[in-house]
């Protein structure tokens, strides 16, 4: 794929950076003047995905955009290809959804405006950090963005101010700091070996060897910790128990995936042929699928089911490593598309599911599964949303989860790696088990029910639209997959 030009087109570059930085500015503005209604917010944020859409269009026409920013001695590299553009678009759509949802959520939980105002700048910072992670192409920028993302996420988790939220949030912070430490050590080692930090330069100069392996292991450990991959997932479920719903939605959908994205970038550039290590990651992912599924099946509270399901679903992404390492080009292409489609499907479905679960809990006033009895009659809207989102998580047609699973299975069968087929089967059955455990509770008829609290209609609608988007992406996967095939393959 040809690069547009050595000096990237000025208009595209400007649009990209404005689109990246606007969320932070809007967040600061909203801190001062908290938004009261959903519709103005919708109008303000919608131009962002539209701008990214235009950028994607330009990328599809003319190849990738890349560039360097020099801050004195420092050179900061960035690039935008089909995959990165799509991830940026996904981030902005989810930002739009969770920001709009948050307005209704604040009203529904009746938190003082001042207490909630801190949410907005953190949300803006998180969106900017995520955006930078998608487009950054050197380790320094990635580090800064990763830290910014982690701090914003921890801050948002602490916002409810309750004891449980503080404990879980501090634990999250501790894990994140340990992860950062491992990452910094890895970066330092790499810098010592090759003397540079930009990804393409590293790929060109780094030789396979002990130091590279140790550096990669450190980087991987740090990122796996931040991505909550089994067995480093311990912090994930508790933080979601007490976090506000829009925070959980954005966190489960994107924050953990950002670390995975970075890991994938580094792996493909530094150790693409490390088959044994890739299999180790695949095995970790498999255990995550099984363990996360089992825990979600056992969980008593609705939000815990959703949180544990994230642990399991992240495991699917890890199967990409063994399917990309040392396999034929056909297998790699399939696995590559499957991974990103699965990521997008899970992001939208998980956000929708957190919102639907939050709505159910808020409206019913209870958070336990057994308290859901009879909600299919009283709260059909959020329950339906939960169900549609669950279709994607179970990987049933016509959802994007299904299409991604089809690709992943096709890759595994083509490569003859039958172990992953078994993992996918186990994961699907487990996810069906925990999803239908929830739905089953809702279908119980002979239960006394107290009154339900009415919620703003927009809260249900946003969740439903997200769930439907994840469903529709299944059959409409041709456009994004074509973009991913065209650019971004390692």
């Amino acid at each position: 794929m040809s690069v547009l030009s050595a000096v990237p087109l000025a208009a595209e570059t400007a649009v990209l950076w404005v689109a990246l930085l606007i969320p932070s500015l809007l967040g600061l503005l909203a801190w001062r003047f908290p938004p009261q209604r959903m519709r103005p917010l919708l109008l303000v944020i919608t131009p962002l995905p539209l701008a990214t859409f235009w950028l994607l269009h330009r990328v599809a026409m003319g190849g990738e955009l890349e560039g360097v920013w020099s801050l004195g001695e420092l050179l900061l590299y960035w690039r935008l290809d089909g995959l990165r553009g799509l991830l940026l678009l996904l981030t902005q759509l989810l930002l739009l959804a969770s920001a709009t949802y948050a307005v209704g959520h604040r009203r529904a939980i009746a938190v003082a405006e001042r207490t909630f105002a801190g949410f907005w700048p953190l949300l803006g910072g998180l969106a900017t950090a995520l955006g930078i992670i998608w487009v950054a192409a050197d380790l320094l920028t990635l580090y800064v963005a990763l830290e910014l993302m982690g701090l914003c996420a921890v801050g948002m988790m602490l916002l409810p101010g309750k004891q449980a939220a503080l404990v879980a949030g501090m634990r999250y912070l501790l894990y994140a700091l340990v992860g950062s430490l491992a990452w910094l050590l890895g970066v330092a080692l790499l810098l010592g070996v090759s003397g540079r930090l930009d990804l393409s330069g590293l790929a060109a100069t780094t030789q396979p060897g002990t130091v590279t392996s140790i550096a990669m292991a450190l980087l991987a450990a740090g990122l796996l910790l931040k991505a909550a991959i089994f067995p480093l997932h311990g912090w994930l479920a508790p933080v979601h128990a007490s976090a506000w719903t829009p925070v959980s939605a954005l966190h489960g959908a994107l924050v953990v995936k950002a670390s995975f994205f970075i890991l994938m970038q580094l792996w493909q550039r530094l150790v693409p042929e490390a088959v044994a290590a890739a299999w180790l990651l695949g095995l970790l992912g498999s255990m995550a699928v099984v363990w996360g599924g089992l825990q979600a099946w056992r969980a008593q509270a609705l939000k815990q089911v959703v949180a544990w399901s994230t642990v399991g679903q992240l495991g699917y992404l890890m199967l990409a490593f063994p399917l990309l390492a040392g396999t034929s080009a056909a297998v790699a292409t399939l696995a590559w598309q499957a991974t990103w489609l699965q990521l997008a499907a899970h992001a939208m479905a998980k956000a929708a599911m957190f919102m639907a679960a939050g709505n159910l809990v808020l409206a019913a006033g209870e958070g336990r599964l057994t308290d859901l009895a009879g909600t299919s009659r009283q709260l059909p809207f959020p329950l339906m949303t939960f169900g549609i989102a669950a279709v994607t998580l179970m990987g049933l047609p016509p959802s994007a989860g299904f299409t991604a699973k089809w690709l992943l299975l096709q890759a595994a069968i083509l490569a003859g790696q039958w172990l992953w087929v078994a993992v996918l089967v186990a994961g699907t059955l487990l996810s069906a088990a925990y999803v239908f455990r929830v739905l089953r509770c809702a279908f119980v008829e002979d239960a006394t029910r107290q009154e339900v609290q009415p919620l703003p209609a927009g809260m249900n609608l946003i969740a439903l639209l997200l769930a439907l988007a994840a469903l529709g992406l299944g059959l409409g996967a041709d456009w994004p997959l074509a973009l991913i095939r065209a650019g971004g393959m390692p």
Partner: protein, 501 residues
């Protein structure tokens, strides 16, 4: 109207109906009823239009790519439109029946919403043009029937729903893996491109045999082939219209139709015979026919007896496929329609007895013929058809199966047919005897378990009309079996134009 648009319109009729029903409030009874019936009629008209168009040589197809080398394909061919016609016709009656059956009961919005989704999936299954598209609608059918099975929300219904999901979701996964493996082996096979698999290297043949049985295992769960039938009798706790739907139109038929597509349109009947797959199918079908009939005989309640009878009757379709000859094929295709007509009648009648008189057990049926003559007549027509008595359509299925067996050189199949017909008679005739000849509460002996006078007729008109109508259809389709557009004639046409081995 161009072909693709018509296909899409037919599919969307049910999808939009489902959407609108979910948006309507629970109490909007009239609007919902109008919408349901209107959509069923529109759909029937559209399918009839396509039947007419197909018979004049028009083509209806629509496709778009989903993945590299894999497309979503909708296509109306003679076989698919046959199944679509059956489902849209029976859907109209089932909708009428369900409206009457669920009068004044809670959660009707949910019921009819998923009911319409169920129609949409069945239609999608019949119009799917490759295995990928088929799988999409096949799984959608699983999802949309679950809320119907657990509709009553009792512990028993929820348990049955759990069993249903365990069977069907696992089968769906098995099916998916089989299809992907086939896709890896041979690429995207459109239905009818039989030469692709036939042209594969000879050393791939064992793999093909293995994949065939994997796929049959996947389809066999919904088709309720023994030993994969466990979910079906348990799903009987669902309301009567749902049972009618599961048994006659949607779920078991989707499984049987999948086997038909697999054998005729993916592997091709000649390759299947060459690989020795058909003998296996005949064996499985024979076991299922006999086992289902025996178990039906042992049931003391009406609906479970009908359920096991379904297990046995659907296997006739598989038996016909396995016979490898034009007559067996005609038997398979026409029985797909015939069994639907007769079974739906029987379930409507069982529902009527339960609703009007509170009868669930067979020994409570004594003398019900006098109290509910039209329902009992309809039941009699259905039962005699199942036994295979002319002129009800069931006779033609068995006739063609028998002659097909001789043509295929498998005379022992006749013994299976005779045994099964005797068993059919053994479990249906005593019911008919009780209905018509034993004295019951209307003769002054005992009393009905729970009598409700639902209407001026023998029961609610919305319950009575569909039962009588489908019974009439099974009679008329038998009497006019040689006329154009009768099920038998259409099945023969399909066989003659496309599938003659």
């Amino acid at each position: 109207m161009s072909g693709g648009v018509l296909l899409l319109a037919t599919l969307c009729t049910s999808l939009f109906t489902a959407l609108l029903i979910f948006l309507l409030p629970e109490r909007a009874f009239r609007a919902r009823t109008g919408l349901n019936l209107g959509a069923a009629l529109v759909k029937l008209t559209l399918v009839a239009w396509m039947v007419w168009g197909l018979s004049r040589g028009h083509a209806y197809a629509l496709e778009f790519p989903v993945l590299e080398g894999l497309a979503f394909v909708l296509r109306a061919d003679a076989l698919g439109i046959m199944f679509a016609g059956l489902s849209s016709l029976l859907w109209l009656f089932t909708t009428i029946y369900a409206i009457g059956y669920l009068e004044d009961s809670p959660n009707r919005k949910r019921f009819f919403g998923f009911f319409s989704l169920c129609v949409a999936s069945t239609l999608g299954i019949s119009l799917a043009g490759n295995l990928f598209t088929f799988l999409i609608f096949y799984e959608l059918l699983t999802l949309s029937t679950y809320p119907l099975v657990v509709h009553r929300g009792t512990a028993k219904a929820l348990a049955a729903g759990g069993v249903y999901l365990r069977f069907t979701l696992t089968a769906g996964l098995v099916l998916m893996i089989g299809m992907i493996a086939l896709h890896v082996l041979a690429g995207d096979i459109r239905f009818g491109e039989r030469e692709i698999l036939a042209g594969l290297d000879l050393d791939r043949r064992p793999l093909l045999v293995g994949l065939f049985w994997v796929l049959i295992a996947g389809f066999g769960v919904k088709a309720a082939l023994v030993p994969l039938h466990g979910w079906l009798p348990r799903a009987m706790v669902a309301p009567a219209p749902v049972s009618a739907l599961l048994h006659a139109v949607a779920v078991v038929k989707a499984g049987a139709f999948g086997i038909v597509r697999l054998v005729y349109d993916v592997y091709g009947i000649e390759l299947s015979a060459e690989l020795g797959l058909l003998a296996g199918l005949v064996a499985v079908a024979s076991v299922t026919i006999l086992y289902g009939s025996l178990r039906a005989l042992a049931q003391q309640e009406l609906k479970p007896r009908l359920a096991y009878s379904t297990v046995s009757q659907v296997a006739y379709i598989v038996l016909g496929i396995g016979l490898f000859g034009p007559l067996g094929t005609i038997a398979a295709f026409s029985h797909l329609l015939h069994q639907g007509l007769m079974k739906v009648t029987l379930f409507f009648c069982a529902g009527n007895y339960a609703e009007e008189l509170g009868i669930h057990r067979i020994d409570d049926l004594d003398g019900a013929g006098r109290r509910m003559p039209l329902t009992s007549l309809a039941f009699t027509v259905g039962a005699l058809g199942m036994i295979g008595l002319p002129p009800v359509v069931g006779f033609f299925s068995k006739w063609y199966l028998g002659t097909g067996a001789i043509q295929a050189g498998m005379p022992w199949v006749i013994a299976v047919l005779v045994a099964s017909s005797l068993l059919n008679a053994a479990y249906f005739l005593p019911i008919l005897g009780r209905l018509w000849f034993l004295p019951g509460p209307d003769h002054g002996v005992g009393e009905w378990p729970e009598e409700r006078r639902l209407g001026r007729l023998e029961t609610h008109a919305w319950l009575l009309v569909p039962a009588v109508a489908t019974a009439l259809f099974s009679l008329v389709a038998g009497l006019l079996a040689g006329m154009p557009f009768s099920p038998l004639e259409w099945a023969t046409r399909v066989v003659n134009t496309e599938y003659l081995p």
